[in-house]
Symmetry: C2
Subunit: 447 residues, 2 copies
């Protein structure tokens, strides 16, 4: 009898889990469900479609229908898993016509993702209030842009700013409102965030920090928002105040959540119930730095967890040791990246830190097109180990974040980084890379 | 009595040694000599001036005269050190007028660099045969370009190709001739080198590999070269067949050379003679991978060694543990980088290797401007450790080389790299970075 694998979710986590399962077991019967109309696309690309950089939402589909056919994966679109019965090893599903079916599984992978969290702002039920998670959400917002001249984005996290920038690129008068005193609060310390904010403001994006939206104004349809006593007229509103993991289905089946209120898994991505695995935005991760549970709702985390879950669910063996937290984005011409802990989060985790900020160039100073690169390094004082980095620059940010991710993974000390070897050619970097120079400066503070 | 430090050489190594010495000892009397007319410039930039990317040779001066004045460094231009007397702790010098002087030192730093090596090709004494090392060499070649329509470069190493590309960019019909069967033999394995060669040929650079120049033809002045029976007409020739360390002065003073025929130093950059340090292209390095002596005549090695030599010569304490060998260049729009050992050199060092090549993209596949990225990883079979990498791509090569340099430094295994965390955003990279995907592919071969 071939092994029956059911995967709930068909996006980053679900698709990579299916691919790994198929590689591990060529004969397994793999069934994959999604509530959505389209499977296997990259949601991270949606803001860049809105901004006009990518031509069409269709371009975001990374796994086309033909892929699932070739891999012999039974993909059920617009289908909801309504309950899991761990004793019988079944999943109840319902398609868009209302038809129900009971799927038998040997192993089950929960990759239900997350949904936007909308805080209880007065007026949030009005027409013209959107959230952005799916291609369908993106298409609605794209329509709204076409008939609008102004917009408000609530939340200045990664997605909020990417959306805000796309609106400016489409010619809308745009305001981003953030309750916390800085942009990108999960990613950057305030000193670095202020540089990003200034850069965005110079390009025409209005940003209000330290104030929430008190009310969404208008009749049936949005006409403005009220922020700190100011009424800001707007044609529509996008709420981008973070996401919450889709854990209800798992909870109903008796699957345990962790202290972050996401599904708790071990290193093999197994839940507390035998033969049920979980991966992606709905699961809790372990920080490789603090060794404690953490929330890492990144696409890169999802696919890496999925590879492990899919391999194990198909009878293989793989482990996912945890996350460092490496993220990057591009806002206008500015690349912004971070890895590990910010100084703020390190302190909140009780870690005594020493940090430094340093400004270098992306090419030899005499080479045309050399752009400034601002880098912040955070070290644990006791061990002198690098535990976090933040970089803002015109180019070369993502791969420097990767270099420092490798450094953190391998427990590199600031002393080692200060002596580390980097390559050099005038058109592509400086003789001493700013990462190394920053470490040299930080080393003097550690002495 | 202030400490007297004499530094022979005033380029990458000399200047960084002086800077480190000054930081370590604010009151030292620092004297620095160079045989050249200009000090403190970046020779790595010369091909990019020739190619028209950098406006002027003057732009290459990283340490202007005012810097040496501010740092209270007594800089003697066009001055030659003719002998060292280690017993008396003196250096005999002679300026361009023939005037001699005896400098007393407490510590001496030899940073004499290297000079081009010209093989005994028949006709190499003719007018119109150049080498490229100094700004003055660059200016002569720049003049030659202006009055020429064709050129031949002998040698397809990093400098040879950079020069060849600059000639094409300036409109010359250019041929590069390489005796070995591939371009960039010190940096790439043949499979990767062939990709570079093809890319350069597509841009109009003619490349002949596997044949040397048998004769430089012409009367008093060059008129062509003879290669494998073919006569190639040319207006001038640049010989770029590598460099030899300037070790004669040190040898005369009884300073020992290592097995690579470069000056032997310990981790503090001390020679076998007390109070005499050496750094830069004239010294032998230790490979952090093979733990054996190696030649690492790179600008980045020079400045890192110089920082250590300068610190120690001024009474501080610093060590230079060795080199990994990270290099990069940009030829037309192609970035080419390498770190660690090639498969060829690893085998020559008796290391059993497993390797892989992998082609990915520099951005999300659906993001406009995504360019191919070809990556080769070399692992030591026994330990499964990464020991080398080669990358060719349209962007993001240098920082990936740095990331893999950090990985090699920290003895990362292919298994660890296959699970390593990288950041992701559609405009700047893929969800799975090609480095990680290459490691995943290689891992399957190690099993």
């Amino acid at each position: 009898m071939p092994r029956k694998i059911v995967i709930i979710g068909a996006h980053a986590a679900g698709c990579d889990a299916a691919a790994a399962a198929r590689k591990t077991d060529r004969t397994a019967e793999i069934t994959m469900l999604t509530t959505q109309r389209v499977a296997g696309y990259s949601p991270c690309g949606i803001p860049f479609v809105l901004g006009g950089h990518i031509k069409s939402f269709d371009d975001l589909v990374v796994f086309p229908r033909s892929y699932f056919e070739m891999m012999k994966i039974d993909l059920r679109l617009e289908t909801t898993a309504t309950s899991i019965n761990p004793e019988a090893k079944t999943v109840e599903i319902q398609d868009k016509t209302g038809k129900t079916e009971t799927l038998q599984y040997d192993t089950l992978i929960i990759a239900t993702g997350a949904k936007p969290f909308v805080p209880p702002i007065k007026g949030r039920e009005k027409q013209g209030v959107y959230t952005l998670r799916t291609i369908d959400d993106g298409m609605k917002i794209d329509q709204a842009i076409k008939s609008s001249s102004s917009a408000v984005v609530v939340g200045a996290g990664l997605i909020g700013l990417e959306i805000g920038v796309s609106f400016v690129e489409r010619g809308l008068k745009t305001t981003v409102v953030e309750l916390l005193p800085q942009v990108l609060p999960a990613m950057l310390d305030k000193d670095m965030a202020d540089i990003v904010q200034k850069g965005l403001e110079e390009k025409g994006l209005r940003i209000i920090t330290g104030h929430g939206v008190d009310e969404i104004l208008g009749g049936e349809k949005v006409s403005g928002v009220s922020v700190a006593g100011e009424q800001i007229p707007t044609d529509f509103v996008v709420v981008a105040t973070g996401v919450r993991g889709n854990t209800e289905l798992a909870q109903k089946a008796g699957i345990a959540l962790g202290e972050t209120r996401l599904i708790k898994v071990n290193m093999r991505m197994e839940t507390n119930i035998k033969d049920i695995y979980a991966c992606g935005d709905c699961v809790e991760s372990i920080s490789l730095i603090t060794k404690r549970p953490t929330v890492s709702q990144l696409g890169t985390t999802a696919v890496r967890q999925a590879k492990v879950a899919g391999t194990n669910a198909a009878g293989g063996y793989a482990i996912f040791p945890g996350v460092i937290g490496a993220a990057v984005t591009k806002l206008f011409d500015m690349e912004i990246g971070a890895v590990g802990l910010t100084e703020f989060f390190a302190k909140r985790n009780g870690i005594e830190t020493v940090s430094v900020t340093f400004t270098g160039k992306t090419r030899a100073q005499y080479y045309p097109g050399a752009l400034p690169l601002r880098i912040k390094l955070v070290a644990e004082k006791e061990t002198e180990r690098l535990i976090g980095a933040q970089i803002i620059g015109g180019e070369g940010v993502a791969q420097r974040i990767n270099a420092l991710s490798f450094a953190i993974l391998k427990e590199m000390t600031i002393r080692e980084l200060a002596k580390a070897e980097t390559c050099y050619a005038p058109p592509v970097n400086e003789t001493w890379d700013p990462m190394v120079l920053a470490a040299q400066t930080l080393l003097r503070r550690l002495k």
